[in-house]
Structures are given as C-alpha cells and as structure tokens.
C-alpha cells in the first residue's frame, strides 16, 4: 500500500503499526498525548491504544530515561520522546553510563530494546537551548545506535526498524522535516546502517545528514542549470555507519563535501571526513570540505541564525570553489526560508 503523507504522519503511522503488531511497544514522554502531539507525530495513538500505552510524564528527563531503561530491561519496548534534543542533556547519565553499557556489563544477559526520539534543529528563533542536533555526541558512545531519517518513507521505515531493534536507538528528527510530504510504501523495510544515494551525479559527492539533504537537493537543482551534477548521499544511520555506500560514491566523483547538520569540531563531520580521506587516500582530487553549524551557540535573531546554519548556498559556493567555477548569481533563486514555509511561535 502506497500513500502520500507528511513526515509527521509517517512517524505516527510507523508507531501505530508497531504498537499494533506488538503489545509490548509503548510511547511516552512529556507532552506526547496532549493536543499538539509532538508536532503531530504521535497523533491518533492515545485514541487507538489508550493511556496505558501512550502517556505523558512529569518534567524529569533523567528519571524518565531510567524508567524507559527499566521497562526495556523488563521486556517492554519503550519509545521515549523529547520535543527537543537539548533536554536529553539531563538524561546523559542514564544514556552514557547505563543504557549504552548495561548489556555489556551483564555479559549479554540484559537486552535494551529502546527508542529515544528527539526533535532537532530550527524552529522559530529557538536559541541556544532548543536547537541542537548532537548526533556526533551520541554516536561517540559505544552501545548506542543513531538514526536520522529525512524522507517520510524513512521516517516510517526506520522508525519501525528502530522499534524492532533489540538495542538502544537514538532517533533524531528535524523540526522542519515534519512538513515534508512524500510517498510511503507501508511494506517497505529499511534496515539500520544503510546510507542511500539520493541523487546521482559526477561532480562532487555531498554526504548529508538530516535537513542538509533538503539543502543539498536545492543546491543540486541550481547547479544542474550549469550542468554541474552533484551526487547526494543521505547518511541516514550515523551509527552504525554505511561506509561502503559513501566511499563508493566518493571514489566515483573524487570530491567530497560533508554537510553535517551539527557543529563540526569533534563531531560526525570530522569522522566522515577522516573516513573519506582514509579510504580514498591518494585518489581524492581535492581536500574534503566540511559544512556544519558555526562554532558558536545558536543565536536567536534571524540574520545571525541564517548564517549560523549551513545552507544550499554554502553547498553551491563550495562546489563552485572545488570545481574552480565562478560564483553564479543566485538572486533569482528562491531558497527554503522560514518566511514562506514556517511560522512561529515554536
């Protein structure tokens, strides 16, 4: 069954499917069952599965993460939702010292089938406390899987796979992706650990996480007018990483831009760059370019926020630089912008 739907609908649908299939799956977290339903991504669940399987919590991220862990240890399959990834900083003790370790420390006796969903990225001037991504921070910790879907199909399929996975999965969803629409084949399974080439090209490989895929597509469209064709690889799974898909693309194009939706320094961007250099040693035509957040806290005001975040324009300019092309006039282009697509207050 194929259906056209938004990313947020795909998330609700994927959750509902797993809740139907397995009575041990439940979803909880602050504001999960309220009328806003985490930007609509948990819509329909409390009606369908009742308040035992879809419920809110006190403001206690640390304890609630422990509760999720304890429930998972007891054979349930919790999905714990955070409306902002920033709040997970309160739960780092459980995540880094318990969830990631407990199976190992028990010699493999304990199993932790747990999904932590968290919203990342921009909203309406979300400031330094409601705007992080942190995939690199989570992926740095052995024992965690880290997933970043970009399309409605992946939101649906990767969420289902993550729920079925017997291990802890951090599932990061960009705030702006919720509105993206696309076809979703309900039978399609996507395994964790598989990257995908989203657009074929020969000029430069642009390796993207999350929202950067959207920016890269826009960049591709603009560049195509000059007959420059970039190849876009959507990482999808930050840990485990699909090295082969990425490397085979870079081997083909000989050039690589890492467009990671996070701070670059000591992040996933560094890992990707280092990997590409290592595996393509001697065959790269140019150094890898890394695009990411400016290395400062996220500012609230729009003009600074616009240059804080990497964008299609940065990709275009970087491609031009790598290929020795002149900077094209972008004044006629319309890029994704809040002004047309996204309103406040949150």
């Amino acid at each position: 069954m194929k259906n056209y739907m938004t990313f947020r609908e795909a998330l609700s649908l994927g959750t509902a499917k797993e809740m139907e299939a397995d009575p041990s799956v439940f979803v909880f977290g602050l504001d999960v069952p309220d009328h806003k339903r985490i930007f609509g991504s948990t819509r329909g669940l409390v009606e369908k599965f009742g308040p035992e399987r879809c419920f809110g919590t006190p403001l206690s991220e640390d304890a609630m993460t422990g509760v999720a862990l304890g429930a998972a240890l007891s054979g349930l399959r919790p999905i714990h939702v955070h409306i902002r990834v920033d709040f997970m900083m309160l739960a780092m003790n459980q995540i880094v010292n318990m969830i990631s370790n407990l199976r190992y420390m028990s010699g493999g006796k304990l199993t932790i089938p747990l999904v932590i969903r968290a919203v990342i990225g921009r909203g309406w001037g979300q400031s330094a406390q409601h705007s992080k991504s942190l995939q690199g921070m989570f992926a740095h910790i052995p024992g965690l899987k880290v997933v970043m879907p970009t399309t409605p199909q992946d939101a649906y399929s990767l969420l289902r796979t993550s729920i079925r996975d017997d291990n802890p999965v951090v599932f990061l969803e960009h705030r702006w992706l919720y509105d993206i629409e696309g076809e979703v084949d309900e039978r399609l399974t996507v395994p964790l650990g598989k990257a995908v080439v989203r657009k074929k090209g020969d000029a430069v490989t642009v390796v993207c996480t999350s929202w950067m895929n959207v920016e890269a597509h826009k960049a591709a469209e603009v560049l195509a007018k000059r007959d420059v064709h970039i190849e876009i690889v959507d990482v999808r799974s930050v840990a485990p990483l699909d090295e082969e898909e990425i490397i085979s693309s870079v081997k083909k194009t000989g050039r690589c831009i890492v467009a990671d939706y996070d701070w670059s320094y000591c992040g996933f961007s560094a890992e990707l760059a280092s990997l590409v250099y290592n595996r393509c040693f001697g065959s790269l035509k140019q150094p890898v370019e890394r695009l990411g957040f400016a290395h400062v806290p996220c500012p609230t005001t729009r003009p600074l926020e616009n240059i804080y975040y990497p964008s299609a324009v940065n990709i275009i300019r970087t491609v031009e630089k790598m290929l020795g092309l002149e900077a094209t006039d972008l004044s006629g282009e319309s890029f994704y912008s809040y002004e047309h697509n996204f309103k406040g207050p949150f």
Binding site: L30, G56, T57, L59, D62, W124, H130, T300, T301, R302
Partner: protein, 324 residues
Amino acid sequence: MKSDVLNKEEALAVYRKLILARLSEEKIQEEYFKDEMKTPVHLGIGGEAIPIGVCHSLPAKSKVFGTYRNHSLYLTMTEDTDGFFGELYGKATGPGKGKAGSMHLSAPEKGIMSTSAEVGTTNPDAFGAALANAYRKSNEIVTVFFGDGAVEEGVFWESLNFACFRQLRILFVCEDNDLAIHTATKDRQGFKSILEAVSGFRCHGGSAEGNDVQSVIKSTHQLLKKIVDDPKPAFLHASYYRFLEHVGPKEDFNAGYRKRPDPEEMDRFDPVIRFEKELCQNGCNANELDAIKKEMEAKIARSVAAAQLAPFPAPEELYKDVFK
C-alpha cells in the same frame, strides 16, 4: 526592608509596573502575527503580580534569576522597554543583541542575572549567587522564580537540599499556574502540595495569592523578615491563572485541556483588574490610573517603533561573545 503596606506613591509605582508588563505583552499579542518577532514568546498575562510583587519587596540591587516566562520580571527589574522590544525583534539594541530572544532576557547590571528555557535550570545558578553572597559575608538575598513544573526536575531538589544544608539566604518563588504546557499538576505530581513536599527541608515556607499583588508583597515581606531573623532559605508558593496558550500570543480555550473561565472568574484571576479595583477603593481615582496607562502606552509605542527601526546585529556578531 520595605513595609508591606503600600502608601499611595508606592501603590502607584507598583501599578505602573503591572501596567507596563501587561501593556507590553498586549502589544506583543498585537504585533506578533506580523511575524517580525522571530522568537517564541511565553506570555505571563495573569501572572504579573508575582514577579512584580516580589521584586517590589526586594532591597535594591538584589539579584534575581528566572525562566523563559520572564517578561514581567525583566520589565519590573529594568523598565527597559527599548531593550525588551529590541531583543524581541532580534535587534542589536536588545540586551542580548538579538542573540537571546524572548526566552533568555537578562540584564545583570540591573540584577536580572539570567533566565533559561531549560526548565529548572536557573535554580542552582541562583544558589551559586547566594553562595557567593555568603562567601563575601554579604546578607543580600537572591531570588529565583520557577514554575510548578520545575519542581519535578531533580535539580530542584538538589538545589533545595544544598540551600537548606548551607542555610543560604535565598528566596524560592514558585509561580504555580497548575500547568506544564498543557498538563495539569495532578497528572504530574506525586505529592499533595509543593509546600508540604518541601516542609521536610530546613527552610521557611509561605504562600500568596498570585493574582493579588498586595498578597504577594505581604507574603514576600514576611518571608524576607524570616530570612533576616533566622537565616535560611524561604519558599514562596503563589498560584495564578495563565490566560493564554503556553507559548504564543493567543488564547487556547478551545484546545480541550481546560475550559474558558466565566467572565467574573476571569476578572478575579486578573491581577491588573483586581489591583485597579483596590486602588480605586483606596483613594486613587481613575484619572490617575489612566494617566499612568497612557504614559506606559506611549513608552511602549516609542520602544516598539525604535525596535522596528533598529539595525540587526552585523554578521560578525555571530562570532562574538563566545569567550571573554
């Protein structure tokens, strides 16, 4: 310490602050739909009496810490509508040069140290400031404002324990609107009342009607006196009614999680209406109040106009203010 009975001059000064806060937020309601204030706004309409009453009672130069629902607190501490609207419009004229936005207003030079959008997070910071006072053998009292939801965060209890163990001079103010976003207290809390829950700790406790600025002043006054007489933390609990949606400029009575109060209830919940009534009963006339209102309206209008015209921070500002 100030008296807890307001003379006319003081009463009008308090009124001035109430009306400044109220009109500023109503101005935001008016302007927000234009999408020029590109920052989430957590309006405090209905709750103004708490920060205003408490801060009125504090000695000059007291330090306060707060939450993202900080407009009244910022305005009562600073009266700086220029900076306030500058920040809301993301302009270089804001106290955070636009980097802060609505949720992180601060003006350390005026005593409002920091406000945070991570619930509960400024609690321990305030205790650090109180510790600094103790370190310097100063008797100043630090005040921290937080919502009923913040009480569920572990850091609240850690902070409470520390403050009570060290017997710091600190005033906790719980601004209780019985809601965390859309969830009522009863759906979140495992204790009968927050005052009862903290009663096992070595601190003073008291409560106030949060929609009645005089009640807030009275209770604050009593607690401050207790801190002076018997130095240890004091906990003030004040209930109020949140008129608007959690974040954003609108009402949301049709959302389903609570019903619209009837008009008389509304009036009773409203600290401005309530205080106006009392002022009029106690020798102020409507003209005096009107004049203040007009003055504040004009002040706000000037600040909004200035903010709209003010420049955004220059691009190089992105990289400034990370380190000293």
